[in-house]
């Protein structure tokens, strides 16, 4: 009788390690197909100030306490940034990105994953600093080649005012 108990225990432990051993790595998960590539459109760009500075009128200045009488009123709020991306002429991404911060006075962060099949594409990128203006302030147009499993990071250098590719 005891021997059957020991055998039963051995079988129980075998089941236990089989369960743990299997599900600790299996079944395999396919995150992306092998012929896929990924574009990460990611940058942090500050839009222009939403409203220009304006001079306080004499009446407005008089209404203020003496220590607060500065000449100009410069609202901190920044404009949302508009970004567009076209691949082979088709729009893939078209978005207005709001500035962060409670007073909306910080930069507009962008992080977008765009999966594509590996291959060669004609890419168009455009960005506008101010939502209320016409046209695009920054543009890129060119051909890119994406290898299988490649991650292409497209950023924007706010100092050089150009799109970057890594």
């Amino acid at each position: 009788m005891k021997i059957f108990q020991y055998l039963g225990q051995a079988f129980w432990y075998l089941l236990f390690i089989a369960f743990i051993g299997y599900f600790s790595t299996s079944p395999a998960y396919t995150f992306m197909e092998p012929d896929q590539a990924l574009i990460k459109l990611a940058f942090n760009h500050a839009g222009k100030l939403k409203l220009p500075c304006r001079e306080f009128t004499a009446e407005e200045l008089a209404a203020k306490p003496k220590q607060m009488r500065i000449k100009f009123d410069c609202p901190r709020e920044r404009s949302p940034v508009y970004v567009i991306m076209k691949v082979d002429g088709k729009p893939f991404f078209d978005k207005v990105i709001s500035p962060s911060g409670l007073a909306k006075d910080l930069s507009s962060p962008l992080y977008e994953r765009i999966p594509l099949k590996a291959g060669q594409y004609h890419l168009y990128l455009g960005m506008r600093d101010h939502i209320d203006t016409e046209g695009l302030d920054y543009e890129f147009e060119g051909t890119i080649t994406l290898a299988a499993s490649q991650i292409l990071v497209i950023g924007f250098d706010s100092d050089l005012k150009e799109f970057t590719f890594e």
Binding site: Q5, G8, Q9, W12, Y13, L14, F16, I17, F19, I20, G21, F23, S24, T25, S26, A28, Y29, T30, F31, M32, E33, P34, Q36, A37, L38, K40, A42, N44, S100, G101, L106, P109, Y111, R113, S149, Q150, I151, V153, G155, E166
Partner: protein, 529 residues
């Protein structure tokens, strides 16, 4: 619907318990030690973690190579430790989830038991956080996948101004400092988890925190075998310019990540947040009227401390009598005080009170501590009524509990039943009382041994009957006329067979040796146990 779900789950556990009882015996049944096994696996994770930390390099560049060194160069020790670290973590999740399911299916979370249930939920969250950061630290393709997807998941929340996923854009964007912060998190969270583990068992008297030695040795040996047969290995080194494609996910910890790919991040947040909220609220769903808690009667409480040591939920303590509580012959002794927030109304304290005796000079049966809704007088009346109903050749009185086999299913001419909230609520003096007042035998039943709904009830009964715990069953009570058989709600057939076998054994022996010639009064010294 919920009841059906719970009943089905409960029956599945009872079925598995029966099988495991045959293989391991109730003492070593792993399904009765799911909580302690989770604790034990945590200890293995801690010890193995400390060892592999010695060889682990906390820089981004060398983290992967240091893990590879452990896995391949020092496979015989560091490699085994790494595998143990992983597999014990997985086993911990598995046992925790089973422990939670068992508690849910058997309904062991209502009333004052909410505390143990609710403190378990943050533990679950913390274990997942520790596991996920652990996979991150290997900094292979799986770590890369987890890092990026976790960041993207967190970034979905509108509280984060700048996307954290931008930290993982390129191989140069991740810094050693960030990595070390992750290491500190992975080391610090287990310390917090230890604190939560202590809190989890705070309200339990005689809390089991270690599994039986044999079971612990068996589990450790099994994990070592697994570590040798299938060592834990890494994926390719992380490279943020390349997409991980095929991943060998640890499904115990990482099952949520495929959901992020199938559904939106918001849906996954709703699932996780909603699921956790639901788990936390389960003890109050649906709201139930709480049963009255134990009441101490100052005139009959001698401050003997037995109820304090027997209460499975640490709900009773002794205090000096105040003016209002001073009474009669016990006024110089301390008095038991019930903490209402901890009492689950199991009545075990009544069973442990030496004053709970039906042998009184007066008609009124009193005790030092009692349940208002099912008091000692009700038990006395039920016992007398049951004895009066017995008409068969052999008269057996069965004391059972509300969580074992349904008592009404056992009714027959030779057998009368009385159900208590817990069999541990039965004062041993009632066994003697039944034998002196017409019963040929007394049969004690309740939940299966090792699986008492109120944790310790059947253990206390066993020890009281075998003279290992006060209040003792009097030695004058013939042991062949008292039988114990611990049976779950699904063990109806086995219980009926056992009662029939008991009846047969009573027929085979002479009439009861306990006679009514002994005075139906217990001296004070005996009452105090």
């Amino acid at each position: 619907m919920l009841k059906l779900f719970q009943d089905t789950g409960h029956r599945a556990f009872l079925f598995a318990d029966r099988l495991a009882n045959v293989i391991f015996g109730p003492k070593w049944n792993p399904l009765y030690h799911l909580g302690t096994l989770a604790f034990f696996f945590f200890y293995i994770v801690l010890v193995s973690g400390i060892y592999i930390y010695i060889f682990y390099d906390t820089s981004v560049v060398n983290a992967y190579t240091s893990v590879e060194y452990m896995t391949h160069e020092q496979w015989y020790l560091a490699g085994v430790m790494r595998s143990l670290h992983r597999y014990a973590s997985d086993a911990m999740v598995a046992t925790m989830v089973l422990h939670l399911l068992r508690g849910f299916f058997s309904g062991r979370y209502h009333g004052a038991r909410w505390f143990s249930w609710t403190t378990g939920i943050p533990m679950l969250v913390m274990v997942f956080a520790i596991g996920i950061t652990g996979y991150w630290l290997v900094w292979d393709q799986l770590g890369q996948f987890i890092a990026v997807r976790t960041s993207e998941w967190i970034d979905w929340l509108p509280i984060i101004a700048e996307p954290t996923a931008r930290n993982f854009l390129t191989n140069t964007s991740i810094t050693d400092l960030f990595f070390r912060l992750l290491v500190v998190t992975h080391l610090g969270l287990p310390l917090m988890l230890l604190g939560l583990m202590l809190l989890h068992v705070t309200r339990l008297n005689y809390a089991k925190i270690n599994p039986p030695a044999g079971l612990a040795i068996g589990c450790t040996a099994a994990l070592v075998v697994l570590s040798l047969v299938k060592p834990a290995v890494s994926h390719e080194a992380a490279d943020l310019s390349t997409l991980p494609t095929q991943l060998n996910l640890d499904w115990f910890y990482l099952f949520i990540y495929p959901l992020m790919d199938r559904w939106s991040m918001g849906t996954v947040w709703a699932l996780v947040g909603g699921g956790l909220l639901l788990l936390v609220l389960i003890p109050w769903m649906p709201p139930k009227r709480r049963e009255p808690v134990a009441v101490v009667y100052a005139d009959d409480c001698s401050g003997c401390n037995l109820c304090v040591v027997d209460c499975p939920y640490e709900a009773i303590r002794l205090e000096a009598r105040t003016g209002g509580a001073s009474a009669g012959r016990y006024q110089h002794l301390p008095i038991a005080v019930v903490d209402e927030s901890k009492c689950v109304s199991c009545g075990i304290c009544t069973g442990s009170c030496p004053s709970s005796t039906p042998f009184r000079q007066t008609d009124e049966v009193r005790t030092g501590i009692d349940m208002p809704h099912k008091n000692i007088q009700d038990l006395h009346a039920a016992t007398r009524e049951a004895l009066a109903k017995l008409t068969g050749q052999t008269k057996v009185l069965v004391y059972g509990c509300d969580h074992g086999v349904e008592m009404s299913k056992l009714m027959q001419a030779e057998v009368a039943m009385i159900s208590l909230p817990c069999t541990g609520a039965l004062p041993p003096s009632f066994i003697v009382y039944a034998l002196r007042h017409g019963a040929d035998g007394v049969f004690l039943t309740g939940c299966r041994s090792g699986d008492c709904f109120h944790r310790l009830g059947n253990d206390w009964v066993d020890q009281r009957v075998t003279h290992h715990r006060k209040p003792y069953l009097k030695r004058s009570a013939p042991r062949q006329r008292v039988r114990r058989y611990w049976a779950a709600a699904s063990d109806h057939k086995q219980l009926v067979n056992e009662i029939e076998s008991f009846c047969q054994s009573l027929r085979d022996i002479s009439p009861p040796s306990v006679k009514a010639e002994a005075q139906d009064v217990v001296p004070d010294s005996e009452t105090r146990g």
